[in-house]
Symmetry: C4
């Protein structure tokens, strides 16, 4: 995939997430991995509802800007952390929804989803009769330290699902490509909204 | 109706259901019966929000693809089961809404709807002063076995309404044509949302 | 206003109400009074989301069709009842919302709205510091009998607000013209949604 | 910024707020400060969903119309009060949402928001680990008297956040320009919706 096509795809995904209400204010960020040292990612501080390809820029595998003077999304290192750990990850989405914000604020270390047909959007066998424990991490403005917490979590739980929530801050989800990542995000947000509606609390 | 017109109608219906939030991820499927051995139905794994006629294919009355190498929706056999049982059925809709998911997870064998003006969208006399017991079946990834459970239900309750819910999975609704099926689905989802808002539980 | 302009206005209003979610299935109806014996009103059984001027027809002051073979909305007589009683009424809107359906099902003879800035959209002085008791009537498929109940209500309460709710069925609101009626409907539905969110019950 | 550009920006902002459901009926008003004696502001009584630049007019720093015969929004003096107090304010937004209406009706003198990542949209250090106490004032149809209450509040709390709520009436938010004000409004409404969902009450 070329950078130009990735920028088009990211901009369309931003507008889609805005239509869903998942990127209020300038929240949210989106990336596609083009190669080991090439990640296309949203610029800092842009509203996703009017996204155009010019709102996308290039960073390297450590999140350093490859465009002079340009600033990528504040949480670029979290995207890099996902790509570093999961070779199969090709696209990463981060959004703030009412459901993921409220549920993560009341959750303990994870949110358990069980019995939903849409769990099929997650790895672990093509069945609804499974359980996904979505990890919940405490929020931290020190992003390198937050990424170390995420890495520690993955070290302890190598079968963690392809997503996690930062408390009061939003969800990260990934997939082999943007279609897979967005399908997973839509499935997850739907299940979280059901979970919220059911009045389920922390575990 | 020609296959081409059916494909256009199905694609428009998919985009409509997506706008309502009833087909998250790649969920949902839609069909129109063209003849005893000709059913136009959504292909497997497509997002309904960007549906085009090319996302529709042809299967026979037993759900076998009539297009080499093409794969219809996973739950095609449930559509065939409806068409086999009800000669008057011309279109079938399957969607996942927050309301039908949450209510079916907490329900027993049915969800009782009573006193709504929109019950007039269901058979049984042109009045709101009626009761519809919407059957709820346990989810099952073995679709032929699930269809046998649906058939057993219909054998026991020949006056069952033109719809049922699979627990945690979504609703099936049908009508003489797509307009009738969609009208019924909109009425049903509206009543389920009221039901959810009223905090009503299983019966 | 000509019939053609009224038909355009009614069609646009139908699509607006559909975008708000107030006319599920084929629910809802809309009219404009052109003269003492000329009321433009929605035809029966059309979906409001794709309304065009051809979905509008002409009836006389008693609700009889002025177009051979055409059938107006089932509840045309309720529109006529409003126009007969209130000479200042120029447009009538009827919609089904989750809020008006759920609240009317749990209400007694009225729903009391108080302390909302948007009460200024109702007569009674330009202030929020007022009370509107929105009448709630039992549903009835016998429309002439239902209209007699509405008339009896107005006879008893000559200062009733320009709106009422039919239990489990929807709201009727009117104004001097379509803009006034729609402004009132939007204000009312907003307050009812607040009311529902506050968990307020019957009075 | 020219008046024409301000009018375009205000009209687009009105349509945006309408799409979010924050300006029901003819509620809401929007302004941009062009200079010490030049404020572009919405005219009285227009619906924001179809706003065009012609729905915007010019007032002076005291809210007096600078266009013969034209009437600005009823609450223009509240906009002027904000501009008079905060030299850095360049744009003001006023909207009615379900969340700000319901929460302000049950709140005491303020609504406390804490632990949200989106608090970064408010002054006080780039962190979620902060607290914003959003002031809540009683509603009053006497706008000069209401502005005196707002001024008294600011006199007592010079570090009040760039926003306040009028009970049962709506929120006022401002920023250096429209983009900043709208970003803040979107962040605030998102947090209020979370707050409402959490069932938090007055403080």
């Amino acid at each position: 995939m070329t950078f130009d096509d990735a920028a088009l795809t990211i901009a369309a995904s931003g507008r889609h997430m805005d239509a869903k209400g998942w990127v209020p204010a300038t929240a949210g960020n989106i990336s596609i991995r083009l190669g080991p040292e090439d990640i296309a990612i949203t610029r800092s501080g842009r509203h996703k509802g009017q996204m155009v390809p010019a709102d996308v820029m290039l960073v390297d595998g450590d999140g350093a800007s490859r465009e002079a003077g340009a600033r990528p999304s504040y949480e670029t290192l979290l995207h890099c952390g996902i790509y570093r750990r999961f070779v199969e990850a090709g696209a990463v989405l981060h959004g703030h929804s009412i459901a993921n914000t409220v549920l993560s604020r009341r959750a303990g270390a994870s949110i358990r989803l069980a019995g939903y047909e849409l769990l099929k959007a997650f790895p672990g066998g093509p069945t609804h009769d499974t359980v996904v424990d979505l990890p919940v991490l405490d929020n931290d403005q020190d992003i390198p330290r937050l990424q170390r917490a995420v890495d520690a979590l993955w070290d302890d739980a190598p079968d963690a699902p392809p997503g996690y929530v930062i408390r009061g801050h939003g969800v990260y989800v990934w997939g082999a490509d943007m279609h897979a990542a967005m399908t997973r995000l839509e499935a997850l947000e739907f299940m979280l909204l059901c979970h919220l509606e059911e009045g389920r609390h922390s575990r």
